[in-house]
Symmetry: C2
Subunit: 479 residues, 2 copies
């Protein structure tokens, strides 16, 4: 039945016949494997960095992120899952989160996270000889057995869940008998994760500085030994409460959000300076992106730039986030593209770059974008994808079209199942305001093929139910 | 009573004490006066060019406009009057359109336009020895005595009114006995303007190519004689019906709007090529901007990029438009600023650059931005301005704040007079969604000062009523 899976890939995959040279590392054992640094902002909307139309428009110049863009490839149509947990799951596994039971942020302490059966990019890279470090927000499990060090990371520091928990201890009437006091954690592979400080509003202001410090320390240690490294750096900014480090408090004169944006840009610059100063720039793939679109919560309202909607919906404002990749000498500098790429593709692409094979015993949704990133081909290897919000398929993107099966502009709006698919031309109508399905009903062929093939793939390989305990083994089917 | 006028200027004008060097021309008779080319798009929203986040996102790369931005200063907070006629009036006179009776597009053949009493930038430049040419859409009067050649232009070609009129002859039941058949016109100073072709849907597709051809011919002629020139080039794209030249029809594969955007970029490139090829680049100030925000009419919907609302409102999507100024060796290349500038300032600034004094016998709203454009000072010389929509004051901008007295997001919405001023922080809330007046009521001091001072200025110098016939002479007052 593997054929069905291939059929699913056939419609989302662009018909590009490319005969591409191997990238820097690949199978050539004499070329050193490139280091990989993945900087992941939290709830950073498309419009926030200067190079995406924000920066000074948001009250905070972002010179370091903007410069990074001029040194690499900047994507205008990089897509993510709609919320923290599913997005981080997709980056980690190369699989849409519906497959792994991680399709939404759990609330109220429900058991959650990636089963150990999942194979993460950290596991793949670790098997290729990489040192692997996680510095920041995990949000893929908060019990022993589901921490980063159980999923391929040699070491980790950060928070298991999300930054809204930093509000808890200051919340009137908070009772640690009914909800656990949030802590910053740290751990090493083979050891139990241990508690550090309470994650309160003071710690919230300080944590990204410590994430950056530990990231740079990790980079320095590996630069010394020469071991290739993978630094996964999921910053906690600009998730609410968006409160900057004291050094940045008041820095811009434009409030907490702008100060925090300036702080994030500064931390990005610190990591890049470390890479550059250590002479690692040429052999290090640096990615800067975000987990999902902005949070609209005032007073820290984020901004999706030109798009409608906000995170945890299937609007463009939820799905499109900044994405910059720099790899000097490999990725041409200053290139900009509106081609569709999905975060699941980072799994497959980074695996290829590091010379690792992706798992063959399960469906991997990511497609290899190496040749596109390296400009060995003009176009992305992806033409579309299904957009789930929690456990419901809300929409499908295909080329410049978007079909909505469910309409929901903001996460607190009630989702409305549409009687017929609504179709939007994202080039002519970026704000998704005028349904043009009647005039373009041919587009429903590829759109519904993505829907049907994806649902077929879920039958072939049934999704892991949320809250599934370890050890998990997939049911024996006819695959 | 001149003191009141000065008070009005005091609040909109930034408290900058600058001792700036003279720009290229100025009072030095040995330096040649720079040529000026003002390229004005029609209904081009903030988000359309690539350098403002559009381009490929709209299905049409805009490489020439984007390159122009890298060669000059790009403004993120350049503001205009809300509609074609008032906007063109403001550019032409340096005065908010409410003063000159040109505050909205007339409908149904009502007499309109600039009285001959107004002093246009073309008249100022002409008096400084400039050759002055108008190529494109005028929209400031459609009778003899109110054509461009009656307002300081040596020659003109184009349409007196707007491009929607190109739809008339194809409109079922159109009767030329009740409404005049639209024509393309042309004229020379001292002669009567004459009719050329009917302005129908075929001509609509062709006209920007002819505008460009005549602009380049004008530039070449003056390059030969060495006379400094002012080319005012109000293109008809991308006003509805947004139909491209046949050479661009289908060029992008993304529909009429994208094709027309590509066509506009091409024409901008043609004009720039001519300037460069003639060796005039160093001595030519080139401005590219738009008259107002986008038209939302489907199927040619324009796009305001990140802002809310559309033209003929006081939303940011109406007021903020692209603005690029290039002057090699004078305006630093690649600079970007979010400082407030208003189109009335182009009048005063271009006058200064050409060594002309602005009229002293009337209120001029424009402030001199020369030193800001030339980076001889960091900040704009303007801190705010009142935003009229037709004859009603809808809003006031001041620094990063916007106070709405009237709320209207789209031109077909009924304007709602607000019981108290609504206040938006444009850095924290670019979409103007959350009124934060209660938390920031101090801002109402400068906002209401702009309101009151402006209204006071209208008492000192009463506005000219719309439809006033020539000759107009202001009533003798106590000024």
């Amino acid at each position: 039945m593997r054929v069905h899976v291939c059929l699913f890939l056939a419609i989302i995959t662009a018909p590009v016949a490319s005969v591409a040279a191997e990238p820097g590392a690949g199978s050539n054992p004499t070329v050193r494997k490139p280091n990989i640094v993945l900087l992941l902002a939290d709830n950073l909307g498309y419009g926030e960095p200067g190079c995406y139309g924000g920066g000074v428009l948001r009250g905070a110049p972002t010179p370091r992120i903007d410069r990074l863009a001029t040194e690499g490839l900047r994507l205008l149509n990089f897509n993510v899952e709609a919320q923290c947990t599913p997005s981080r799951s997709a980056i980690m596994t190369g699989r849409f989160a519906i497959r792994s039971g991680t399709m939404k942020v759990p609330r109220g302490g429900a058991p959650y996270g990636l089963t150990q059966w999942e194979i993460t990019i950290a596991e793949l890279l670790s098997a290729q000889g990489y040192a692997t470090g996680h510095f920041g927000k995990w949000h893929l499990g908060d019990i022993e057995g589901r921490y980063p060090t159980n999923q391929g990371f040699d070491e980790w520091y950060g928070i298991p869940n999300s930054t809204d928990e930093s509000l808890w201890t200051a919340s009137a009437g908070f009772d640690p008998k009914v909800a656990p006091t949030p802590h910053i954690l740290a751990g090493r592979k083979g050891e139990k994760t241990r508690m550090l400080d309470v994650y309160d509003l003071k710690a919230r202001r300080l944590i990204d500085t410590e994430i950056t410090r530990r990231t740079i320390d990790f980079i320095r240690r590996n630069a010394k030994t020469g071991q290739p490294f993978y630094a996964y750096v999921p910053f906690t900014q600009v998730h609410y409460p968006v409160l900057p480090h004291p050094d940045f408090d008041g820095r811009t004169g434009n409030g907490n959000f702008a100060d925090s944006l300036a702080e994030m840009d500064h931390h990005v610059g610190e990591v890049l300076d470390a890479i550059n100063d250590l002479g690692l720039a040429e052999n290090t793939v640096v990615i800067f992106t975000s987990d999902n679109g902005p949070e609209e919560l005032v007073p820290w309202r984020g901004w999706a730039g030109p798009w409608s909607g906000a995170y945890f919906t299937a609007m463009e404002g939820s799905l499109r986030v900044p994405f910059i990749v720099r790899w000097p000498g490999q990725v041409p500098a200053g290139r900009v593209s509106n081609a569709i790429v999905h975060e699941v593709d980072t799994f497959t692409t980074l695996a290829r770059i590091a010379g690792a094979a992706v798992p063959a015993d399960r469906i991997i949704d990511g497609v290899d974008q190496t040749d596109f990133f390296l400009s060995q081909q003009e176009q992305s290897n992806r033409e579309g994808f299904p957009c789930y919000v929690a456990d419901t398929l809300h929409a499908v993107k295909w080329r410049n079209w978007k079909g909505h099966l469910v309409w929901q502009e903001y996460k607190y709006d009630a989702p409305q199942r549409l009687p017929i698919v609504h179709l939007y031309n994202l080039l002519q109508d970026p704000r998704e305001r005028t349904n043009v399905q009647s005039e373009n009903s041919w587009v429903l062929y590829p759109v519904m093929k993505i829907v049907n093939d994806f649902q077929e793939s879920l039958k072939i390989e049934p999704p892991i139910p949320p809250g599934t305990a370890d050890p998990y083994q997939p049911p024996k089917g006819d695959r």
